[in-house]
Symmetry: C2
Subunit: 516 residues, 2 copies
């Protein structure tokens, strides 16, 4: 029904299907075409708008997105030891016999034991994660992973994904509640786990993003995963075991030795001028690290010192600090317990942040860079202050950096708190088995027998020279620990390389080896 | 400090700065480089992470993003006749003497009079918008815009932006409240305006996105504009006049003629079987259209019929429907009054949608496609049922489609309600001056003297053949109106083409002309 005529004013005149004169091309609006009567809306190839698909099973993801040999699948660990999604996907991989997959979960927990079989059968040949604990670590120690285990930091994983260093084919993200627009919430539903900070890079940068949920609502109250990035939503009966989801943290130590260490750490921080109005803090989730938080809180109350923020994975100890007004804000990548979930849901000063905002070294100003101090644990620390939280002293995988190396690099002062020996093994080594965090970023070691300051921190040595605390060198502390628990025997020669410790900027800190 | 040695197992062995063996390249992880001692985090070119800049003036946007001749700037109209942001940007364009700009506000209101000077001086040479009313329209009617005015629909604008048909250099988006992460809220702050549906495509697809606000908080309670897409935040004293922001809607007509038309429209819809359990609706914001909403509500109460949803720009009439449980959900692109703002803030069934989700024809299932009926206005309607809401009967710009053509195409039944004459001018024409909505999408015309059904709708003609309502042809209605108000004189020959009416799929419906 399109007609053309030449009536002078235009080079070429067209009538559209309503009989109206329209231009063919006109002054810069070159894509003009004439209206073409009803049922005319043709969606061109370049149309970019998509909305979430609704799928009804894990299996349907595999069909819809053609999950096949060699792909990279990513996951987050916010459901911690209660996660059912990574396991369900692994079960489907096993059933279908897909091979040579790379999986990139932000952490791997003891309940992910199904991975063992998939490593051994060659379904999973490469793993990239920030933390691995439990059965899945064993075949890697045994040299059965055909490819490599790459161990990132929390901030480094975000960097790797966002910079293209870790390309993800399909992110399969557990989400406690999802709405019809594909928006996901971490605070609603049966498996509420709080903030979803570790999933943010996957959400934005994976080629395809699938949310797996057990609860679909019309509209979530708080958006933790933005539906704009979501390709599909899968509803299954249950995404996890609520018991396991919030069980990932420990309680403050009751051991008097640990409590003394924590008090000394707080005293050290006060004497070094760190605990002053407006200071900010993070502690690890271990019992002694939490005791440091408690000791610092007591000091804040006694001395009426208000801080600015606390960050990290959060728990009830931190939400109390916020509720009582000792800090203005919590910056939270991950909630460790139900108090934290509730606080994030209800308190506008409890602020969700992505792993990127938390610790990505490419961020102009990640939260870790604003920390006055961080108190962290160690399974080993050496004379250069290098810290290992990745392997035990036999070199077998028991953890990983998480945010250890990120916060250690960012904070003004990084304190390691530990007893001199654990399970009768000395913690201070000449060289750690595996470097998780470079000694260049570790400033102070607080033990039950004394405190060692990294000789690089001449400022701290100077400040503490008249302290009533017992300051000595790390060699002196090692000598004391050898008197207590003896000099450990050298461990067996390792086998082949099984993995790499990737520093937060993508460079290689160390290697992991097959252990016999 | 990097060292290399050849010890057999590796082709080339390197030690990193901590003295650890690291690979040069290893099994697929080809980008491995050795850790390089402190201060080693070099941000490569490819790093993609950005965080919002904080700027302190509108002028700073121009400096930071080099706003210069020929660029395209976009805006939304959620602050309606109270908007101060488009005006402030225009003032800066004027001060700097920047030329040949394209502006793409989703609508232009009477308070945007500053545009007049900028058109005349050639600062602004192209305009792309969905609605224009007030002084800014006059120089366009007068042929002073050097380029063209392109008039989209609300859904069509989203399509144009998202498909690349309307590339935006810089989106400058007014936002009532913004937080430190760049997240914006429409329900908090001095200039709270509710949902921000028209800004969503700009937010996602503009090359640079600037939020302009008068209120910065630590964390917004509800995210309407996602900080992930925000390049910069500008804080100014005031983004607008609250009085003007929510004044954009009219009240239900009190004219008995209008009320009769509304009742007849509701009766028609009921008799045609449209008003039945689960039906969905939208009405325009005009007084008679709102009266249709009120008449339909009365019918729902009398007959105890519950609907599923109402959509569109929302107001107190709609929030009452939701509150009283007559519909399950409101899908809302834009809030017209304070009741709507409050309802959106507090009621989880009052759901914000983007212009794309609302009416983008490239969306698989936009909300408009699910409408049982829409009741709309007209400034002219012709014998082919084509509707004009863009120009008056002299061809001068007084409005635009907004969602008119989107909903007319999507809804099962499109009803136009109007008196036969306005200001003594007949509304029914042989041919409308400007086609805003093709007659192919318009089903019923309800006037005070009778109801005309589009002959294409044989189903409706059949259903209504025994109706007690006065059904006649549109020609008969035109004849009646000519008896009342006479046959209008032909208007003057138009001058050059000043603009194009762009149908929602991007094709050209009609042209706009210089008027004398």
């Amino acid at each position: 029904m399109m007609q053309q005529k030449n009536i002078g004013y235009y080079r070429l005149i067209m009538l559209n299907s309503l009989g109206r004169v329209v231009p063919d091309t006109l002054r810069g609006y070159t894509s003009a075409t004439a209206y073409q009567s009803k049922n005319r809306i043709l969606i061109p190839e370049k149309a970019v708008v998509t909305k979430p698909l609704f799928l009804d099973s894990i299996s349907a993801i595999f069909d819809e997105y053609h999950i096949s040999d060699g792909m990279t699948l990513s996951f987050h660990h916010h459901l911690r030891n209660g996660d059912g999604v990574l396991n369900a996907v692994c079960q489907e991989i096993k059933t279908r016999g897909i091979k040579h997959l790379t999986i990139a979960p932000s952490s791997i927990f003891p309940n992910n034991a199904i991975i063992v079989d998939l490593i051994i059968a060659g379904n999973i040949t490469n793993i990239r994660t920030n933390y691995i604990n439990g059965p899945a670590a064993r075949p890697i120690d045994d040299g059965k992973l055909q490819g490599l285990l790459l161990m990132d930091t929390h901030g480094g994983r975000a960097r790797a994904i966002e910079s293209g260093d870790l390309p993800i084919d399909i992110a399969i993200l557990a989400c406690p509640t999802v709405d019809r627009n594909g928006n996901g919430s971490g605070t609603e539903g049966l498996s509420a786990c709080g903030t979803l900070g570790y999933a943010q890079s996957d959400l934005r940068y994976a080629k395809k993003v699938i949310l797996v949920t057990d609860t679909i609502v019309d509209k979530v109250k708080q958006i933790d995963l933005d539906g704009k990035y979501v390709d599909a939503i899968v509803q299954i009966d249950s995404i996890g075991d609520p018991e396991g989801i919030v069980s990932g943290t420990t309680k403050i130590t009751k051991d008097p030795v640990g409590l003394k260490i924590a008090r000394d750490a707080a005293d050290f921080l006060y004497q070094a001028g760190v605990i002053k109005p407006g200071f900010s803090m993070q502690t690890g989730a271990g019992g002694t690290s939490l005791a440091v938080a408690a000791a610092v809180r007591k000091m804040m109350i006694t001395k009426q010192i208000h801080g600015s923020f606390a960050s990290g994975g959060t728990n009830g100890y931190y939400t109390d600090l916020l509720k009582e007004g000792w800090v203005d804000n919590l910056y939270d990548v991950q909630c460790f317990d139900l108090e934290a979930v509730r606080s994030y849901r209800d308190n506008s000063h409890h602020i969700a942040i992505s792993a990127s905002k938390y610790g990505n070294p490419y961020e102009p100003n990640p939260v870790v860079n604003n920390l006055s101090f961080v108190a962290l644990g160690a399974t080993e620390i050496d004379l250069d202050f290098n810290v290992n939280v990745t392997t035990d002293s036999l070199g077998r995988l028991i953890g990983g950096s998480g945010g250890h190396a990120d916060t250690a690099h960012g904070a003004d002062i990084t304190i390691i708190t530990t007893t001199l020996a654990k399970a009768r093994l000395p913690i201070i080594k000449e060289h750690v088995t595996t470097i998780t965090t470079p000694g260049e970023d570790v400033d102070v070691l607080v033990t039950e027998r004394g405190i060692a300051i990294n000789p690089r921190r001449v400022d701290l040595l100077e400040k503490m020279k008249n302290s009533n605390l017992t300051i000595m060198t790390i060699s002196e502390l090692m000598a004391i620990s050898h008197q207590i628990s003896g000099i450990p025997a050298a461990i067996k020669e390792p086998g082949k390389v099984t993995g790499l410790i990737v520093y937060r900027d993508g460079t290689i800190l160390d290697q992991l080896y097959q252990r016999f």
